[in-house]
Chain length 393, copies 2
């Protein structure tokens, strides 16, 4: 891991989740950091989401720490507002900073009261345990139904020095990834204004989290935060450096999103769906999302079955406009459908290639349409496949 | 079964599917019938769908027979048009009727050429085997991934005599029921004009097939046909009789749709989602569909877990507008959420009630909104539940 300078991390078991596993974590930017965040669009929003949004506005994009708990979403509760506020107040006190420089984030069950006392008691222990080496421990502590740790980092060499970007996320692939809470915290030691961070985060989110199986299906607690503390030696960024930093942030967040897609229940394969030649980007996204979200497509891939008819059908009901006679479909770069009907290909050879851990499918509409999109999803295994995966044979 | 008079049925194994199980079926209205049909809205449409639509237009809503094959969708094929036409021509010849009085329907794999010869050779055998008792055999022959026969019937007493309505369907629940082909054939011996049948079919489809987990997600081959041959003694229908007939058609199609919902992979429970108090029917439908389509809700029900937070969250990202503080949620008529936060209830007692084969969930928005909706779905069992079903405990 290329960890950015100037951040410290700590975790503790506060007794929020029944299972005795660290459930409270703290990320601290020692000298503070500029920050941008994106939040769930669900009309039901957890108290920590509302408070984090308010704090970021009050601080004009400045943060000292992020406090994360797993095991309780602190959503749809009577005491939510108060608990979220008391929690960050405890952190602010321990770190000797202002309350609005601390962002809360929660994930877990909805509708169960979260005990503020548990957090207040644990915060001093957290503050005492802060260490530059706690990055992975925090990434572990915020997992819920996830089966794997999800972290990524990049280091880029700028003219005046190196800068680092490191991110952690939680959220398991399942069928609609957006439905389990997704949290993402990305830190860099580059120097960047909140407005630049905001632009980078929005672009990177569009290319990563919003391109996971189903976007729009957001939990009550989703939150992604990008922080930049300027602790590297690289100094202020020129235009070129900004581009390089944005690319690094995108790569980190794409990696995190792909790790979520791969962590589906029983999933063995990452599926990347690419669409092109549609009349608009919107149509291309509709088609890609519909394919990525199709259980029939996903079971076919689990069974390494090049059943392109299901891909064609999923594009067909997506709402995207196209002429079925213009459709070419490729699996692992092998053409399986040309002009809407079967192409000739070596099926045993393709089936072997579909056994790989990453499967690419491409739906290209002939003509001059420029609309392109890409979505990530995973294959569907388990009992579901018993009915659908071998349907064709 | 209250089978309508004047229909005969036959099935045969034509060699279309590899498994030796009847795969070709014929429904014949001996003296013809008036008919209405609804077809898939997928932009990719199978050849039999296109031909059936054309025939029904040419015949002005008059049919003599429906030919159904399973094992091959005759979609996205080079020879699709010709094969569909040759198939119905063979039937017309055997029944001594005109080609445009015969509707083709297919279900099975997409993109594989269907051999016209198999059907042409089998049709004379089919015609010879026609019998008033073959209703269930036809319902069996058209099944593909289904695990159960799906049939329903009604008998209603009108002033001048009884009329009968009987229907059969195929389509398995899975996650998005609409994605596997749905076929539905509903016959009555009442006397009804095509325009009346059309109105009944559209209303009944809205309340049944379009209220299954995800509507709009349609396969390339979906088709529902309502036929009326006037063979009963009831004669022409007065206004009141029309209403009774429509109600019977709706009950039959609702039953068929619920049977599809219940036939999900590993499903043990039918889930009925009701929403009310929304600003519009559209919002109520969005919320109901979103809940019915939520794997997290469906796994919770599989585990008899009254995890209403997931229901609230699914309504929240549905796109429907509402104030979370106005939400009441009921499971099996037990209130689990009031004004957006947990209600007091006897959890062990409710968990036992969630073990029942039919689970009703109701999301009611306080206020004066009149928007109501109802959706059918099934629970999610199997491996999926191992991760999500016991999340809360």
């Amino acid at each position: 891991m290329n960890l950015p300078l100037g951040y410290r991390y700590a975790t503790v078991y506060a007794g929020i989740r029944k299972q005795q596993r660290d459930d409270l974590a703290l990320i601290v930017a020692d000298r503070g950091a500029n920050a941008a965040a994106v939040f769930t669009t669900n009309v039901v929003q957890a108290a920590p989401v509302r408070l984090a949004r308010k704090h970021l506005r009050a601080s004009k994009g400045r943060v000292a720490a992020v406090l994360v708990n797993a095991g309780n979403a602190n959503c749809a509760t009577r005491t939510g507002e108060r608990v979220a506020l008391e929690s960050v107040k405890a952190v602010a006190k321990a770190l000797r900073t202002k309350t609005h420089f601390v962002l809360p984030a929660s994930t877990g069950v909805i509708g169960v009261e979260l005990e503020a006392r548990l957090i207040a008691e644990a915060v001093p222990k957290l503050a005492a345990a802060l260490s530059p080496n706690g990055f992975e421990a925090v990434a572990h502590a915020m997992l819920t139904t996830d089966t794997r740790l999800k972290i990524a980092s990049e280091e880029i060499a700028l003219r005046r020095g190196k800068v680092r970007v490191a991110g952690m996320t939680k959220g398991s692939g399942m069928i609609h990834p957006g439905m389990a809470t997704t949290l993402a915290f990305v830190m860099t030691d580059a120097m960047a204004e909140p407005s630049l961070l905001r632009r980078m985060l929005v672009n990177a989110t569009e290319r990563s989290y919003n391109s996971l199986s189903v976007d729009g299906d957001m939990s009550t607690n989703d939150m992604a935060v990008l922080m930049a503390n300027g602790a590297s030696a690289a100094g202020p960024l020129d235009g070129n450096s900004r581009g390089l930093l944005e690319e690094a942030v995108i790569r980190v967040m794409e990696s995190l999103a792909q790790q979520i897609a791969s962590d589906g229940e029983g999933a063995r394969k990452l599926i990347v769906v690419r669409t092109s030649g549609f009349r608009s980007v919107e149509d291309a996204r509709k088609a890609a999302r519909s394919i990525a979200n199709s259980p029939l497509v996903k079971t076919a891939i689990a069974g390494s079955d090049p059943n392109w008819g299901r891909i064609l059908s999923a594009a067909g009901y997506s709402g995207a406009a196209f002429d079925p006679g213009d459709v070419d479909i490729f699996l692992q770069d092998v053409q399986v459908c040309g002009k809407g009907v079967a192409a000739e290909y070596d099926e045993p050879a393709l089936k072997r290639r579909l056994d790989e851990a990453k499967v690419e499918m491409r739906v290209a509409i002939r003509g001059r349409g420029k609309g392109e999109a890409r979505f990530f999803t995973c294959d569907f295994t388990e009992g579901y496949i018993q009915i659908n995966g071998s349907y064709r044979t």
